[in-house]
């Protein structure tokens, strides 16, 4: 079995009496996209900061590429990249210079070809030689991503990478992240756009109050906890639902023109629902189904219903 790219064992971080990370144990596998999800203040950025050298852990072990960071805090970082949550920029330098500097920090000589490639991927080519203070907020965010990737790290932490980035570019970034994975790069992602995690993640971890509540393959998780939403559009408005439809869990819309129903994972509710609607003599106009959403799963897990 391959050594995990990142291995956390009983990771603990306390600020006085406040526990930001509580006994977190987690392995990140090589080449996966792992989404770390949780509400604000859950401990996501603290976890990333502890691994990346910005936060001093209170207890526990962090192994990067099999190396204990207590034994060698610097060596493994040649292979790590980070997009921090907070936008930062050095007003004295242009994006090209920032990327040259970044390559240098990681022990690499300036590689103009790589810099061009990353700037192009982040759609910053036209701003390559403009001082960073002249960039918009979204551009600065993209420059952060470029900086995290320019030295070709094997493990990339993307802490809210697309906050404030427009939809089109967000989708381009998703494509780029998939490309990174195809090239063997491991990605740890935190995001408030659950659609992003849903699109990209292979595995999902849910953290809250510093505790890792769940780690699971995204597909398995959605299958296990996801609810499919079914909407049956009716031809004529109904004043109330017949009892046999209501008993199955159907809910009539305010305008009386549709019946919605949440199908639990593994349940087979569509056929009985349609049969009950038909029996009640309600003509169906259309049928709409919405696939299980990570957002619903996350809410369930945070409410304490996610344990396997």
């Amino acid at each position: 079995m391959n050594t995990p790219v990142l291995s956390l064992e009983g990771l603990q971080k306390s600020y006085g009496s406040f526990t930001a990370l509580n006994d977190v144990t987690l392995d990140i596998r090589q080449g996966e996209i792992f989404a770390l999800l949780g509400p604000n203040g859950a401990g996501k950025s603290t976890l990333i900061g502890t691994v990346c050298g910005m936060v001093k852990k209170t207890a526990g072990k962090v192994r990067l590429f099999g190396i204990d960071i207590d034994d060698d805090p610097v060596g493994p970082r040649y292979r790590v990249g980070l997009v921090p949550q907070e936008i930062n920029f050095d007003p004295f330098f242009t994006p090209t210079e920032c990327l040259e500097i970044q390559q240098g920090y990681y022990g690499q000589k300036p590689d103009p070809e790589r810099i061009r490639e990353v700037l192009e991927a982040m759609q910053l080519t036209s701003k390559a030689n403009v001082v960073t203070r002249a960039l918009s907020g979204g551009m600065r965010r993209r420059l952060l991503i470029a900086k995290a990737l320019v030295h070709r790290p094997q493990l990339v932490f993307l802490d809210e990478p697309t906050a404030g980035v427009d939809v089109e570019l967000r989708r381009d970034l998703w494509t780029y992240v998939r490309r990174l994975r195809a090239e063997g790069t491991t990605v740890v992602l935190t995001t408030h756009y659950l659609e992003e995690a849903e699109e990209l993640a292979d595995r999902v971890g849910v953290i809250d109050g510093g505790r890792l509540l769940l780690v699971e393959e995204k597909a398995t998780l959605l299958q296990r906890l996801g609810e499919r939403r079914i909407i049956v559009h009716l031809e004529k408005p109904q004043a109330a639902l017949p009892p046999q439809v209501a008993e199955l869990g159907g809910v009539l819309s305010e305008d009386g023109l549709s019946v919605s129903y949440r199908e639990k994972a593994g349940a087979r509710g569509l056929r009985p629902l349609l049969a009950a609607i038909q029996t009640a003599g309600m003509p169906v106009n259309d049928l709409e189904t919405q696939r299980p959403r990570l957002e619903d799963v996350l809410i369930q897990v945070l409410r304490g219903r996610g344990e396997a």
């Binding site: 990346c52 050298g53 910005m54 001093k56 920029f89 004295f92 970044q102 920090y105 990681y106």
Partner: protein, 253 residues
């Protein structure tokens, strides 16, 4: 050791101050020129010579030292403080750069600025008072080690400071009194007994004296005193800086 990373940080620090020459080089030169005009012209009428040297020439080494110390200090303190405020310190914390690489990078850039301003100040001094160089090695030792020491003090100050007000604390409340009471404009031998004794506790006195020996060939102490004091003080400040960076003092939460 990450030599490329260290060199990158050093070059970045030099490029940073070179991009704003008005603030980093020109401004200190104007201040020095004003010192020559105000102190030199006003006092040289009353004090014709000190230790056999015309007064205007006598204050040149002290003003050169003032330029070196202030600029080396301000460069590293403002650079690390602004990196903390702007958030770019994250780049250094995440990158494979240890305390040694960070010290060499930040302090190296500050030394270049300090020595550059010192040399330009000297050039201004030569315009006003003529120039002599008695000992090249002693002058270079004091200039470079002096810049190094004050750059380290700036680094420590920048690490410590959390607010803009605190960045100015060291220059205003520590460096300014130490330099002005460090024999920049006078010889400590001219002070009355108790004040001369008090001055002996001020390391700047020895550094200015060392530069005076190097440039003018006169001074109150032996020529070896300044290099010894500088080596001692810079060793302590290097050890403190290294320990603070290794601990992540006010950098890591």
């Amino acid at each position: 050791m990450n030599v490329v990373g260290m060199k990158t940080l050093f070059v970045k620090e030099v490029r940073r101050f070179v991009r704003i020459p008005g603030q980093t080089v020109l401004s200190p030169l104007i201040s020095t020129a004003l010192y020559f005009v105000v102190f030199g012209s006003a006092l040289s009428g009353r004090i014709s010579e000190v230790e056999g040297v015309p007064y205007l020439a006598y204050i040149v080494p002290g003003l050169v030292f003032l330029g070196v110390a202030n600029n080396a200090f301000v460069n590293s303190s403002s650079s690390i403080f602004s990196a903390k405020i702007q958030g770019t310190i994250v780049d250094l914390l995440v990158a494979p750069l240890g305390p040694l690489e960070i010290i060499v990078g930040f302090v190296g850039g500050a030394v270049v600025r300090g020595v550059l301003v010192g040399l330009l100040t000297w050039a201004v001094g030569i315009l006003f008072a003529g120039g002599t160089l008695v000992s090249l090695w002693l002058t270079c030792t004091v200039l470079i080690l002096g810049a190094y020491t004050f750059a380290l003090l700036g680094l420590i100050s920048g690490l410590w400071a959390e607010k803009f007000e605190q960045v100015n604390f060291f220059p205003t409340f520590v460096m300014l009194p130490l330099t002005f009471l460090g024999g920049v404009f006078y010889s400590v031998d001219t002070l009355p007994g108790i004040w001369r004794t008090v001055s002996l506790f001020n390391p700047v006195v020895y550094l200015v004296d060392g530069l005076r020996h190097g440039m003018l060939g006169v001074g109150s102490f032996a020529t070896w005193v300044a290099p010894v004091v500088l080596v001692a003080v810079s060793s302590v400040t290097t050890a403190i800086s290294y320990a603070l960076l290794a601990r992540g003092y006010k950098l890591k939460s």
